[in-house]
Symmetry: C2
């Protein structure tokens, strides 16, 4: 997606070997117009699929998922929780997610009430790197016997194994910008 | 706001003495159409104010803030982070927030880059109880010399001191549904 790629080149900041900071439009300050353009693009890519629910994980995925849902007929958004919450049901689907950046595992969970075998779920997240968060979300959706229509990602680090790992599970991945690597502080986009 | 009040009566579940579960439309599963109606209502209530930025805190406030921003001309949304994040700037505004439900304090922070003295900020959150999260957000906005136009809340527990605490700081509070208390598992709405 041209608009997103241009924005990454313009505003993305490379930190260290493999951190891309896009906090001025994606995951700290949010550009709502850009998110709506991304919603249109995802709708276009999944136009032949029926999607009746969007699943994401707190926190950075939530804003993107909500704006995107508008382009899929205002389907409900569910966000999996990373933290214990008083207001979460006791009956949950859980999955363990290993974070390479934090070098530890955490659990994500959703109430069983909101995922069922009638559901055709689009999973949305801001970044795809090793794919562990997305795999956890696929696991949760499948525990609820839902169909996972695909995984929609804003920025994919294509030099990390996330895409391959998700495709191994038989799930389609659509990323709006794919990054091949970084070179002297510059982002190298795929294509 | 009638629509939200009706939804609370229909789908809210009272747990224990003072927990209201609204996870099927507000803070786990999200009803996008309802959020857009809430956005219209906030725009109406703040129609005489210039708002150029929306500030919230992760995680439950993010979806609401993003949808609401569309009704204020797609102003940027900033979400304060509760957790250490690799992609956050080292230069941050921080505030300490005490959580009664968790009986501990945590820090919220935003990059200094996204708050300035030109900003007219609307603070958005899903719940208002003791007001500590909102007070932390006001503190952060004021550290950046921004003007806080108001605090917009989905559900206010009017039997807790949040509103009074915020008004003491000279900030206007607008809540779309105000709850006076709970009685035998039923929600008692104000008005």
């Amino acid at each position: 997606m041209k608009l997103l790629k241009e924005r990454i080149i313009k505003d993305g900041i490379v930190k260290g070997k493999d951190i891309l900071k896009v906090d001025n439009f994606l995951n700290h300050q949010i550009d709502i117009e850009l998110f709506n353009e991304m919603g249109k693009e995802f709708k276009n890519r999944f136009k032949n699929n029926e999607v009746n629910k969007i699943l994401t994980v707190e926190a950075s995925g939530i804003g993107l998922a909500c704006i995107i849902a508008q382009h899929f007929g205002n389907v409900p958004v569910i966000f999996a929780k990373k933290h214990e919450a008083l207001n979460l049901d006791s009956e949950t689907y859980e999955s363990e997610v290993y974070s390479f950046t934090k070098n530890k595992s955490y659990k994500i969970r959703t109430s069983k009430k909101y995922i069922s075998k009638e559901d055709k779920i689009l999973i949305i997240d801001d970044f795809l790197a090793n794919g562990n968060a997305a795999k956890g979300l696929i696991d949760i959706a499948r525990q609820g016997d839902a169909e996972v229509v695909g995984v929609g990602i804003a920025i994919e680090k294509s030099f990390q194994p996330g895409r391959v790992e998700i495709e191994k599970l038989g799930v389609r991945v659509e990323s709006l910008a794919r990054i091949d690597g970084f070179n002297e502080g510059k982002v190298i986009l795929k294509d």
